[in-house]
């Protein structure tokens, strides 16, 4: 076995905080600086248990888009991390997010996926909450003695912080979390290109939601990976839906934007209008200069493909593809979220979004393009899930867990000084610097001691 496949268990001094019960230390088995990531972290129940407290109870997570809850009372049920939440616009128009659980016995209080409600009433004992979370009425109140039912202190449990950027609502359970804008940092510059290039976006209808038997990290790992496309999606190459040369998605930049946020922008063939302007119709291109700064507008103008990950698990996919073998390629914007149900089972959310300024004919063909290529029925997506499940299945055993995965492409590549965006832009969009940055952030969260659970209610 080659030296780069197995890891020395004693590579770094272990602390009780970062040492697993088998004696391995997380910082020794996850070495993004060397492009070596232990297979153990993808399937091990102990690592998963640590992820819950150290990542899913602390990080900023995407809950939903403003266009999903336009009216007072509009609500969708989502997760913040892995805890169920209600994202709701209250009667005063304020967007709020609460743990979807009654303060009394913990029953789920919002029991539909999407609704418009003035009140949330628990089916168990009838406790009723206003859509701003305040407890309006418990039941059998005359049976409580003085001080036994402090209704003003028994509102639905809010997330610690809720904030939005470009219509995207994010939340965290960590009271000590940095403000959202600070956390997103330089990533906001790139999010503008995707979420504000022509004005506002609309998330169309409802997300597709589905489960796969895979580690959530195999899904996250895939989103900024360009060089899997030619092989994983080879069936589309065979049909003429993707270019028939292996380097077709190599003309672009990989970008690490800090805090684990990562992305790429990829160009199509020179002079090919379909893969310019993010695949949007030519009539919309002048809007880039109206909504973006010149450097952002130039990036939007010159590229046909982009993927980005807002660490840890929210992604955009901006692609130019065809709806079928008889249709010309157009742009699609797909938003993705995945979170673990167990170490080896993952729930995926996939949204289709469209520029509000888009003409009706483009909206229709972009939608068809999305449904046919992406989501669980999409001829693009379904082959990715096959990979993620089989990668997971092969990482379950004790022998496999002693070995690493290989993320070394572009380890020595120098940044491109001509890249005009913030963060670090690397030339050649085939490279694994984005994944290494993601795992680096994962390791930072998993190994940095923190104050522990906070915000607990009594």
């Amino acid at each position: 076995m080659s030296a780069v496949s197995t890891l020395s268990h004693a590579a770094a001094p272990a602390s009780p905080f970062t040492r697993l019960s088998n004696g391995e230390d997380l910082s020794a088995i996850v070495r993004p600086e060397d492009g070596l990531i232990s297979r153990r972290i993808f399937t091990d129940p102990e690592v998963y248990a640590l992820e819950q407290e150290r990542i899913f109870a602390r990080a900023w997570f995407f809950l939903g888009h403003d266009s999903e809850i336009p009216q007072p009372g509009d609500a969708v049920t989502r997760v913040c991390g892995i805890d169920p939440v209600i994202l709701i616009r209250d009667d005063d128009g304020v967007v709020r997010a609460f743990l979807n659980s009654c303060r009394h016995r913990g029953m789920r209080v919002c029991r539909t996926d999407r609704d418009n409600v003035r009140f949330l009433r628990c089916p168990y004992h009838g406790w009723s909450y206003r859509n701003n979370g305040e407890l309006l009425a418990a039941s059998c109140e005359n049976h409580y003695g003085e001080g036994e039912l402090e209704k003003s202190a028994l509102g639905l449990i809010p997330v610690a912080h809720l904030a939005s950027y470009r219509g995207l609502h994010f939340a965290t359970w960590d009271k000590a979390a940095p403000p959202l804008e600070e956390w997103l940092g330089d990533m906001r510059w790139y999010m503008d290109i995707i979420f504000a290039r022509t004005g506002e976006l609309e998330f169309v209808g409802v997300p597709q939601v589905w489960d796969a038997e895979c580690s959530w990290k195999f899904a996250t790992d895939n989103f900024t990976d360009n060089f899997h496309v030619f092989w994983t999606h080879q069936s589309l190459v065979q049909l003429g839906l993707l270019p028939d040369f292996p380097d077709f998605a190599a003309h672009g930049h990989m970008v690490t934007a800090g805090n684990g946020h990562i992305l790429h922008f990829v160009q199509g063939a020179p002079g090919e209008e379909a893969t310019m302007g993010l695949g949007l119709p030519k009539s919309m291109w002048p809007r880039f200069a109206q909504n973006l700064n010149p450097a952002q507008a130039e990036i939007a103008m010159q590229h046909g493909y982009s993927a980005g990950t807002m660490w840890p698990n929210f992604h955009w996919l901006q692609l130019t593809t065809a709806a079928d073998i008889e249709t010309q390629p157009v742009g699609i914007l797909n938003l993705r979220l995945e979170y673990p149900l167990s170490p080896t089972r993952t729930r995926m959310y996939s949204w289709f979004a469209i520029d509000k300024a888009a003409p009706a004919d483009y909206r229709k063909i972009s939608y068809e393009n999305y449904v046919r290529n992406f989501g669980p029925g999409g001829i693009f997506d379904q082959d990715d899930m096959e990979n993620w499940e089989e990668c997971t299945a092969a990482a379950m055993g004790p022998a496999a867990k002693r070995h690493t995965l290989h993320h070394r492409m572009g380890l020595k590549r120098k940044p491109d000084p001509a890249w005009k965006g913030p963060g670090i832009g690397y030339p050649d969009s085939y490279g694994e610097m984005t994944q290494r940055a993601w795992y680096g952030e994962w390791l930072r969260w998993m190994t940095k001691p923190f104050a522990g659970a906070n915000g607990a209610s009594r």
Binding site: G205, V206, Q208, L239, I325, V371, R372, I379
Partner: protein, 179 residues
């Protein structure tokens, strides 16, 4: 009597036990057999070129809000995109079905009524689709299907198919199988 002639004869002509009902059920069984034996090209031949084939996304809703089907779909296909799917499955590189899943398409509770247009029939049925794949356990898809079958010389063409699945969250990895 031809199917087209029977189509104008009213609901009684396609009730269970009638020759027309029997023809339609046999057509459905033969379609299922084509899918389960990987004869996707022959399956595609059963569709009219103006077909629309869709599977809306379902959400969990109170009964008063209806069945919960919303704006968005898992499938929204026309003939060209069904052809794209079939041609994809015929390559050696459609990894989600290479090696292929083993599927079993069951149809039951078939009800037939005259369609909105002469020579067409509205077919409502329950479906169950089981899949086993590699060394994985059984996966199951169930729901209601609403087909419009059009009489053509020698049989029928599927002119419309709506697939109303029972699940709001698909727990079955992907929809690399056809319905």
């Amino acid at each position: 009597m031809s199917a087209a002639a029977l189509a104008s004869a009213g609901p009684a002509s396609c009730a269970p036990g009638t020759p027309l009902y029997g023809e339609i059920v046999e057509f459905l069984y033969r379609e299922a057999d084509l899918l389960d034996s990987y004869r996707f090209g022959d399956w595609l031949d059963l569709f009219a070129e103006d077909v629309r084939y869709d599977m809306p996304v379902r959400t969990n809703q109170f009964r008063a809000a209806g069945e919960g089907f919303q704006e968005m779909a898992f499938f929204d296909e026309n003939f060209a995109s069904l052809k794209t799917r079939v041609k994809r499955l015929e390559t050696e590189f459609a990894w989600a079905e290479t090696p292929p899943s083993r599927t079993r398409h069951f149809v039951s509770n078939v009800l037939v009524a005259p369609g909105e247009r002469a020579g067409e029939f509205a077919v409502k049925l329950n479906f169950m689709l089981t899949r086993t794949r590699a060394d994985h356990g059984y996966q199951m898809f169930t729901g209601r299907r609403e087909d419009t079958l059009r009489s053509v010389p020698g049989g029928f063409k599927i002119a419309r198919r709506r697939i109303f699945g029972d699940q709001t969250v698909l727990t079955n990895t992907n929809l690399s199988v056809l319905f």
